[in-house]
Symmetry: C2
Subunit: 200 residues, 2 copies
């Protein structure tokens, strides 16, 4: 039996979400905490704050810093990282919808990790359906069926609802972690603290 | 002999700078790293980004979160913390100028720690000259002389120059840490990483 469950909220465009996607399973397992995987869209949340782009593009010094920091952190955690991407942020809409086509956390987790790895570990364009097809094949999935499902109102609505739920939980950035007693933690650097909270 | 020296850049209005001011000495000592203390003003840097207030006030969800996170972190580090302050950010101009009246890092460090403790540990108004006088007395200093010095063009210019130097080093937030090979680290949560960098 697990001690607790933690919600992992991420946007596929988010660099630091990649770090957490690569780290959370081993850390949570060591603490006997279950994970639920929650893709959402930061875009509407940023737009409500008056941003029509990533703050890392709007604020140049912050953006320059973020890419250096990401390289240092990826190195520290032993995660592959292609470095600064000119096309940033990537459009993660398709990947987020497809994640929500899967029932069950293991399938969502597996697909999510593959997408982040393709994006930041290999420098691939995750808005490209061919890239997503390759990943689906790696996951042993039938592409046509899932692409069709991803376009249905049901899945679009699920992603919209996830984003609304994120807002309602006070989420304003990614990655974020929410404990079962609704404590919010923001940022890959708060992952350990969030998991420790579950054990309190 | 020290392995290296780290620059600690802080703004007295910055909550997370308080955490670093309370933590840096023990951590640096353990790694045999010297510290230089650099007060600067975030205001002009934020204004250049189009912010006329703290981003924690401009972006409500981020501000709500910051105060929760600060309470958790202060608790983790065993630092006193009065909690959310309605008057935020405090005006740290006087405290920053007075810090620069002191020659030598030990005196700057001592005054800085007292100011942060009064502000976030005790909830005092550090823009109030009486609060600063009390701290100067605690530090064994002659108040009149230092208040007079703090108003001179020389000291005003020093603070302006510090802020310009911060900008030139790519600093966009506080606390920040700069190593002798000019590697920049931002945020109290990067303090350990910054010190480790000094030992490379």
């Amino acid at each position: 039996m697990s001690a607790d469950t933690i919600e992992f909220w991420y946007d596929f465009a988010s660099t630091y979400s990649y770090l957490s996607a690569g780290r959370i399973e081993a850390l949570a397992k060591a603490k006997n905490v279950d994970i639920t995987w929650h893709p959402f869209l930061l875009g509407p949340i940023f737009q409500a704050q008056g941003w029509n782009n990533s703050p890392f593009n709007i604020y140049k010094a912050k953006g320059d810093y973020m890419w250096c920091d990401m390289a240092r952190c990826a190195d520290k955690y032993g995660l592959p990282f292609v470095g600064r991407k000119e096309a940033f942020p990537m459009n993660g809409l398709l990947a987020a919808r497809i994640t929500l086509c899967f029932d069950g956390e293991p399938a969502r987790a597996e697909f999510t990790k593959h997408v982040f790895h393709a994006e930041f570990g290999q420098g691939k364009d995750i808005a490209n359906a061919d890239v997503i097809s390759e990943i689906l094949i790696q996951c042993g999935r039938e592409c046509d069926e899932i692409f069709a499902l991803a376009k249905t109102p049901k899945i679009k609505q699920k992603l919209f609802a996830n984003t609304e739920e994120a807002k309602a939980k006070g989420i304003f950035g990614a990655p974020s972690f929410v404990t079962s007693d609704r404590e919010l933690f923001w940022g890959d650097d708060r992952l350990e603290q969030a998991l420790d909270w579950c054990l309190k």
